[in-house]
């Protein structure tokens, strides 16, 4: 919900992911429980005999029943997708609403509802529905983000896209669970052996294995050949964004100007700041995360733009960490000056060890010329021994 409050949804992929998340947030668990409850209605309402002797085939009656429940589930996706399109269409740049996110939530809800239907059919009891809902809720919260069997993406940054194979596997699995839900009753009723239900369950288990083996749901996007780049002016580094983040261009340029001005020649700056995941060589730094707040972008630019001038003679991670510890206070100072913060120790946007906060606050209290001289010296100390 943070995203809605901060205007994050103005970007197409993020709006699509938000529409998907809003549709599943708690809804998946409730709908799974509802499906389990609804599946028992024939037993609950004493209609078992009446429905046993109907002329229509069981799969047809099950299909009608399950479709009705699924329509409730899917209607949420439609509503939230339309809302996302209406909200984002005015400000979002290139790239139409990303249907892969609603499709992913479509599979999630379908799996939850069909599974609830199956469980409700197999174990008709008053406690089945709440148990199913609770189980889905627990699974949702226990599943690590981007786990191999994760069914929904929490956010939709422009640097990521949904993995086509993973999405296809999830669609197939959802279809498999639906087929299981529709055919289970007729297979158990007509053939008295467990051969057919077992074959069905095995097929669905096979599809679940494919889901697990199909990789992460979200994968990195290939950067476009021509990203959206612009010069902030005043000697500041160029900025390049994902085209989908074009709505943030003005904010990003302002952040780059601030960072450049704060550096004042004391801190080296990169030639280009790249939107997260956009750098052509695949490396991350120097990067920024496009967000609506200029302060957040300023911080990420200041902290990520401080790069070694060449190869450093560190033989271990510990040695490299020690080198970055020396320069750490410079990066914090740079971010603080760029944001106009006078005391980092009391500013909520900085979460620092007390020693670092004390050191930076002491520097910030000095005249700017002294601050820059300190920064220049500290930068040299940081990269001592490095080539270039």
């Amino acid at each position: 919900m943070w995203a809605w409050g901060q205007g994050w949804y103005l970007v197409w992929p993020e709006a699509s992911a938000m529409a998907a998340n809003a549709s599943t947030y708690f809804a998946a668990a409730i709908l799974a429980g509802m499906a389990a409850w609804s599946a028992q209605r024939d037993v609950r309402n004493g209609m078992r005999d009446q429905l046993t002797v109907v002329a229509r085939r069981h799969w047809q009656t099950e299909s009608a029943h399950l479709t009705a429940t699924l329509i409730y589930a899917w209607s949420g996706i439609v509503v939230f997708s339309i809302a996302a399109i209406l909200v984002a269409s005015g400000s979002a740049g290139a790239g139409f609403f990303w249907p892969s996110y609603p499709l992913s939530v479509f599979t999630t809800l379908t799996v939850c509802v069909a599974s609830g239907h199956v469980v409700g059919r197999l174990w008709p009891s008053r406690i089945t529905a709440p148990l199913v809902a609770a189980a889905v809720l627990v699974i949702q919260f226990m599943t690590p983000t981007n786990a191999p069997f994760d069914f929904s993406a929490v956010t939709g940054p422009a640097r990521l896209e949904l993995n086509n194979e993973a999405l296809l596997a999830r669609c197939a699995f959802a279809a498999g669970v639906v087929v299981l839900a529709v055919l289970l009753r007729s297979t158990t009723a007509q053939s008295r052996s467990w051969a057919r239900p077992l074959a069905l369950l095995t097929s669905v288990a096979g599809l679940l294995a494919w889901v697990t083996l199909s990789g992460s749901l979200q994968v990195a996007r290939t950067p476009p050949a021509k990203p959206l780049c612009a010069e902030p002016g005043a000697g500041a580094p160029m900025v390049c964004l994902w085209p989908e983040n074009s709505v943030y261009l003005g904010t990003v340029l302002e952040a780059a100007r601030r960072v450049s001005k704060a550096a004042g020649g004391a801190v080296p700056l990169p030639k280009v700041y790249y939107d997260s995941g956009l750098k052509p060589d695949g490396t991350l730094h120097p990067y920024f995360t496009a967000l609506p707040e200029v302060d957040a972008i300023t911080t990420s630019m200041a902290l990520s733009g401080f790069l070694p001038p060449g190869k450093c003679p560190d033989t271990s991670d510990a040695a490299m960490a020690a080198r970055y510890d020396i320069g750490g206070s410079v990066w914090v100072w740079h971010a603080a000056v760029a944001k106009g913060v006078r005391q980092v120790g009391t500013d909520d946007s900085f979460i620092l060890p007390p020693a670092v906060a004390k050191e930076v606050d002491a520097i910030l209290a000095k005249p700017m010329a002294e601050q820059r001289a300190w920064a220049k010296k500290q930068v040299k100390r940081t990269w001592v021994g490095c080539n270039g």
Binding site: R41, N45, G46, M47, R48, D49, Q50, V53, A55, R56
Partner: protein, 251 residues
Amino acid sequence: MDFIFEVEGLAQGYGSRRIISGLSMRAARGAVGLLGPNGAGKTTLLRTLATVTPPRQGKIRIFGQELRTDADVREARRSIGYLPQDFGCHPGFSVYEFVRYCAWLRMVPERTAGKAALRALDQVGLAAMRSRKMKELSGGMLRRAGIAQAIVGEVKLVLLDEPTVGLDPEQRLEFRDLIREISGEAAVVLSTHLVEDVAAACGTLYVIRDGAVVFSGTPQQLTDRAAPDGRGDTPLERDYTTALRSSAVTA
């Protein structure tokens, strides 16, 4: 004569318990009454005729077709209407929606299903209440809605298990009229332990005891067999109790 259904040497039961043994009966168009004490096997017989459970032994022919395969059973089900003793319904449905849904289940063609539902509701006197929710119906109305779902469509065999339970005397009189009306177009098998209901509405009677037919004939034939020591307030009730005590007889 074209029989709507014929049963030969039927055996039926649950688990190791045998409920019906070697039962034979048949019926053409008209109302057939099944009389018998509780536990005689009436409900089991109706459930078997309704194809809820396949027979353990014996043959069932419906509309001249022996029910051997799933396809035979499914085809027969299109023309069988069944009101179980414990009739269930979806309480959130309106009366019309429920009967319309049952028409769909019976595979009544889509273009005629709506009209068929309205006709069935009209026959049971619920047309004016078609928008009312099932959960809002009284016991008598619910029973009538149950009959409506049993007769919706082109039904040729109507199986009613204890349909008059819970009806007040006036409703029972209306019900008998309804059975007479339906039995003009179909065979109606009516299970009850209320002797006067069958006497008033049925042309043929089967008295069942311990899963076997102990009397078959018309109500008049049962009355003609009057036994002075039979228990009951009316001749028919006395004959019924006599039939139950005696061995199988066919008028």
